[in-house]
Amino acid sequence: MDKILKYSFSDLIRSRWSIIYFLFYFITGMVLLYMSNDVSRAIVSLMNITFILTPLIGTIFGVMNFYNSREFIELLLAQPVPRYKIFLGLFLGISLSLSISLLIGIALPFVIYGVFGSAHLMNLFILLITGIFLTFIFTGIAFFIALIHENRLKGFGLAILIWLFMAFIYDGIFLMSLLLLQDYPTEKFAIAFSLFNPIDLGRILLILKLDISVLMGYTGAVFNKFFGGGTGMAISLMALSVWAVLPMWLIVRKGNKKDF
């Protein structure tokens, strides 16, 4: 697995897209920091971009990379290696190379601006961690979808649909149900609801850290109590980890049974 991971990673990190992806974050970060001169505000703006873009890029790369490596996967499958090593190696190769672009692209502007020693280091850290989690989760989901759909158009469409659902539609349903249930105490329901969407989960984690949860009124206070505390933090991280591991498990399971 490590061997396939190594080559897949070194193939992808040199691709034009990795560099464009890195440059996008780097330039956006620089502009936001030096235009606003406010680290906290730059982090919020970057969060809004990152939490939509990262899942989208993960989705597109996961699907495209799988379909483009089809013949290469066949070549690897004919070698003396168990199947799970091939699939996990390829999946981790894309996820890691995207994560590195994201990590350096976002962190570098802050390092240049001088974030070390400031109170915002932790917030930046959470932004990066959740960004990496989202990369792994959505690349994994996309990889799995590509694995079960021979038809590229169907696979691509379904993967984009899932991204669209998680990034936008889910929130709509969330808000609608809160509105419909406004006569009832919905805090517990809201917390449970957010655990089932990794994008929301990441957003809540970061917003609470940025102390702008006051803007969210009573719900914000409840969220703050839950997610701000050690247990809530642990549960959210656990939920994100489950989200990250689940696609990998599905990939291995499906990969073992698939005909190529």
Partner: protein, 235 residues
């Protein structure tokens, strides 16, 4: 050696392999022929474990290959389409396969045979189709395997590379290696194959030498003999 017993495989409603037995003779070059969709590739992929049969079993050196992977160390496989990660250099692709196999390949001889020296440091996306096929052949033959499975080995090759590939196959055969080759080029079959397996609609229709096949159909060339079989089956 490879033994296929009652193998069946369907994709959805389409039955591709309909239950046949076949055991390969060691030390020979066996050509697998058949029209498109007759199950050639599915059979080859079943042997390699890429396709998982619905029923029947495949034995390699007397042991079932089901859920096994180490037996593939004994097989050199040339896939039909030579597409590799675009940003890797030829040299890196070779070391990747060496790494995956956990052994050094005997590459020098093949690189000079196929004139690949100038391409070693090029990225794979910069190579022409024919050069990629040469890389493909190098990856297949750089390990010393008792069995080689080649899917359309000559596609895209120029005449010099074609002759060298044939010589390479024959030289390895001299060393006692076994070959399973699919091709649509009858010339190649007549020139190098000792044995011929003709698949039709998921079953073995004929097995023997190409002279025998021509004799049964009373035709002068292999191409015509095969065309006659197909016409009979369709008509």
């Amino acid at each position: 050696m490879i033994e296929i017993q009652g193998i069946r495989k369907s994709f959805g409603k389409l039955a591709v392999l309909k239950g046949f037995d076949l055991s390969l003779t060691p030390g020979t070059i066996t050509a697998v022929l058949g029209p498109n969709g007759s199950g050639k590739t599915t059979m080859i992929k079943s042997i390699l474990g890429l396709v998982l049969p619905d029923a029947g079993s495949i034995l390699f050196d007397g042991k079932s290959i089901k859920n096994q992977w180490d037996y593939r160390r004994q097989i050199g496989y040339l896939p039909q389409i030579a597409r590799f990660p675009e940003n890797l250099k030829v040299r890196e692709l070779i070391s990747l396969i060496e790494d995956v196999r956990g052994m050094k390949g005997n590459t020098d001889e093949l690189i000079s045979l196929f004139n690949l020296n100038d391409s070693l440091n090029k990225k794979l996306r910069q190579l022409s189709g024919g050069t990629r096929q040469k890389v493909n052949l190098t990856l297949t033959f750089m390990f010393d395997c008792p069995v080689y499975i080649l899917d359309e080995p000559t596609s895209g090759l120029d005449p010099i590379a074609l002759i060298r590939t044939k010589e390479l196959i024959l030289a390895r055969k001299q060393q006692g290696k076994s070959f399973l080759i699919t091709t649509h080029i009858m010339n190649l079959v007549e020139e190098i194959a000792n044995e011929l397996v003709f698949l039709l609609e998921g079953k073995v229709y004929f097995r023997g030498t190409h002279q025998e096949l021509m004799a049964t159909q009373e035709e002068e060339t292999l191409e015509r003999a095969i065309a006659k079989i197909l016409e009979k089956e369709n008509g």
